[in-house]
């Protein structure tokens, strides 16, 4: 639709576009910083003024995935020549890759990353699934004390979760849930469920109940109507809720730090723990952070249409 616009409206439009560009730059600056550092040679990472143009390299990623030790004396030229290209990058840095026999020793990063994926995906599926059912119940049935119950559900959000971290840790240790995937999953589901219920309730309320009634009259049970009609209609809402729950679980730091240390440790507490030994290797940390950003970025990108529609859902319909 091409509406007639006055010159002042055109000017305002340009200012608005400029403002959006500036905001976008501000938002993207840290991302650029992390991404560029992840591909920088080690010595350029801390150069002042910062280097903008440089020959990108993947050495930080090689370091990220391998266990290495500092070499006391220069590498044997014959060994160097026989090494694959990525191992040479490590020798170039005065280090060697640890091996058991012929097998390269991987760093802990892939394990921690997998832990993050397991915990975030499972907790998101559970929180969104339970939230969807609960929201459907609240939306469609008369429930005694509905408003109070919804308020109680939200009450888990009324204090900073970290407040209960220490008692939770003690209880978890008592029942053996500390440093376990299941323990973190339970925690994250508990955080996200209230959010998921409230968000999904909004979406459920938007779905006309005539859809299900039509299905009920057409010979379906309520359960079948829920799966065949309500779920597809709620897809947008489910996607939006899932993105938010996934981001919360994926990025959670405090509880992961306290509750886990080895087996079930997720990436957020692991990445900064790399700073600890000796001179901080910023490029490797940046590489770990950069990879850590990707799942959320991809997930959000895939669902971006749903997400945008989801966030503005109510506004469009009325």
């Amino acid at each position: 639709m091409a509406a007639v616009r006055t010159s002042s409206e055109v000017a305002f439009n340009r200012i608005a576009i400029a403002a959006v560009l500036v905001a976008t730059l501000i938002f993207l600056a840290p991302i650029y910083w992390i991404a560029s550092t992840a591909f920088k040679p080690k010595e350029l990472a801390v150069s002042v003024p910062p280097t903008v143009l440089f020959q990108p390299e993947v050495t930080p990623f090689i370091r990220l995935f391998t266990k290495r030790v500092q070499m006391q004396k220069p590498v044997d030229p014959q060994v160097y020549e026989a090494a694959p290209w990525w191992e040479k990058r490590i020798y170039d840095g005065g280090e060697r890759v640890l091996k058991v026999g012929k097998d390269v020793q991987l760093s802990q990063y892939p394990d921690r990353f997998m832990n993050s994926l397991i915990v975030a995906v499972i907790s998101t599926v559970l929180a969104v699934g339970m939230g969807t059912f609960t929201a459907y119940g609240f939306s469609r049935f008369k429930i005694a004390g509905e408003a109070d119950l919804l308020f109680f559900i939200l009450s888990t959000r009324m204090l900073p979760p970290v407040v209960v971290a220490i008692p939770m840790f003690l209880m978890y240790r008592m029942v053996g849930l500390n440093d376990s995937h299941i323990g973190l999953i339970i925690l994250y589901v508990a955080f996200n469920l209230s959010f998921s219920v409230w968000l999904m309730k909004g979406f459920m309320d938007e779905i006309p109940k005539e859809y299900e009634e039509a299905a009920l009259v057409d010979g379906y049970t309520r359960m079948q109507a829920f799966f065949k009609i309500v779920l597809p209609e709620a897809a947008t809402g489910i996607a939006a809720t899932a993105v938010f729950c996934f981001i919360t679980a994926w990025n959670e730091y405090a509880f992961a730090l306290i509750m886990t240390n080895r087996r079930a440790q997720t990436a957020p507490p692991f990445i900064p723990s790399q700073i600890g030994s000796g001179l901080p290797d910023w490029t490797t940390i940046a590489a770990g952070t950069f990879l850590f950003l990707l799942p959320v970025a991809i997930f959000t990108f895939l669902l971006r249409n749903h997400l945008l529609r989801g966030v503005t859902f109510g506004a469009i319909r009325k």
């Binding site: 005539e210 009634e213 039509a214 009920l216 009259v217 057409d218 379906y220 049970t221 009609i229 897809a235």
Partner: protein, 368 residues
């Protein structure tokens, strides 16, 4: 072959009773219209038959079997909703096929049934589209198709064309009538539009505040309204209602409305038919605008009055005539009364007059 019978239905929403002791027997193939204003209980009644609403008392019988404890899915009834309720994530084909997917019908048979219904409803070329791409009329055709495809025992329609614009509504009204004549299934149709009710119904059930006011053919409810509510609800323009006094005047009955100086002349037998009801007051007369006869020149039995407002409606005019303290609306030929203030002569056609008891609103059943 489907008969539906409602016996002593009562329904409460909290403390509010929305249906009072409702009894209704619907014959096979009958097209019943529940007519009333919003909140009169007509939709609740329909939903109770569908199984979407529980009832607090009474029986719903389909072919003699009580179904009030059956789930909607087990009643073998189809329903068309005002909001169409087409599933946005399915194509028109899948929407129409949806009720069949609940059965064990093979996909070949489903395909055949859907195409057959689509042909009858002339939606064959829409089958691959999504509901959002359809016009309102087509959406409702699809919704009706979804209801018909299963060949249900009965069709329930909840204001199926209420959301369409006026022209489309008229088209769809004719279409629904055509379908019913062709397919012939027991139908309960809910509407607040009396024209829809008159044109579609075999019998109209007029409801008000949870009570049935009258059940009858369109002609019966129009010509013999059971009470003041029905009299004023059915028919457009609305029937004139006025408190009336009847007097015996030189061998004829004289009916005076609105403190007018003179009365309208009625046959003497009105007095005996009213059987003294007029004497103690509390009599209300109703006359449709077409029963108010208007002429320019004086004639015996005509009363001189002044025209006040004229509403031209194309094929006819509605003229407001000042009779004493009340207004009588008359239907005249277009342009017959030239303008406000014109003096004309008016008479009431005794054969078209209705008499009601003012207190109870009930018709006295007096016709001349």
């Amino acid at each position: 072959m489907t008969q539906i019978e409602l016996r002593g239905i009562e329904k409460f929403f909290g403390a509010v009773q929305v249906i009072h002791n409702l009894n209704l027997a619907i014959a096979d193939n009958e097209f019943i219209v529940l007519l009333g204003q919003s909140g009169c209980g007509k939709t609740t009644t329909l939903r109770a038959v569908a199984g979407l609403e529980t009832i607090d008392k009474g029986d719903i019988l389909i072919d003699g079997k009580p179904v009030q404890h059956l789930k909607a899915a087990d009643r073998d009834i189809a329903m068309v909703f005002q909001s169409f309720s087409l599933y946005p994530h399915m194509t028109v084909f899948e929407n129409v096929a949806f009720p069949l997917r609940a059965t064990r019908m093979s996909s070949g048979e489903v395909d055949k049934s859907v195409r057959e219904v689509a042909r009858v409803l002339r939606i064959t070329d829409l089958l691959d589209k999504r509901p959002s791409a359809l016009s309102g009329g087509d959406m409702q055709r699809v919704a009706i198709g979804r209801a018909l495809v299963r060949r249900p025992k009965a069709m329930l329609m909840d204001e199926p064309i209420g959301a369409l614009d006026a022209k489309l509504r008229e088209e769809m009204r004719a279409e629904i009538k055509r379908l019913h004549v062709k397919q012939g299934s027991t139908t309960i149709y809910v509407t607040h539009d009396q024209i829809e009710a008159m044109s579609l119904a075999d019998r109209i059930v007029i409801m008000h505040e949870g009570f049935i006011q009258q059940v009858g053919t369109p002609d019966e409810v129009y010509s013999h309204p059971a009470n003041l509510f029905v009299a004023q609800f059915v028919g457009s323009p609305v029937m004139n209602i006025a408190e009336a006094r009847v007097a015996d005047q030189a061998g004829a009955a004289s009916v005076t409305v609105g403190e007018a100086p003179a009365g309208f002349e009625f046959p003497h037998q009105l007095l005996s038919k009213l059987n003294g009801h007029a004497a103690n007051g509390g009599l209300t007369m109703g006359i449709r605008p077409e029963g108010v006869l208007v002429r320019h020149d004086a004639a015996p039995g005509y009363m001189p009055v002044e025209a006040s407002i004229i509403e031209p409606l194309g094929s006819f005019d509605i003229v407001d005539l000042k009779v004493g303290s009340t207004m009588l609306r008359a239907r005249t030929k277009a342009g017959y009364v030239s303008g406000p203030g014109e003096r004309v002569h008016v008479r009431i056609d005794p054969e078209q007059a209705h008499f009601f008891d003012t207190a109870s609103g009930k018709s006295l059943g007096v016709r001349l």
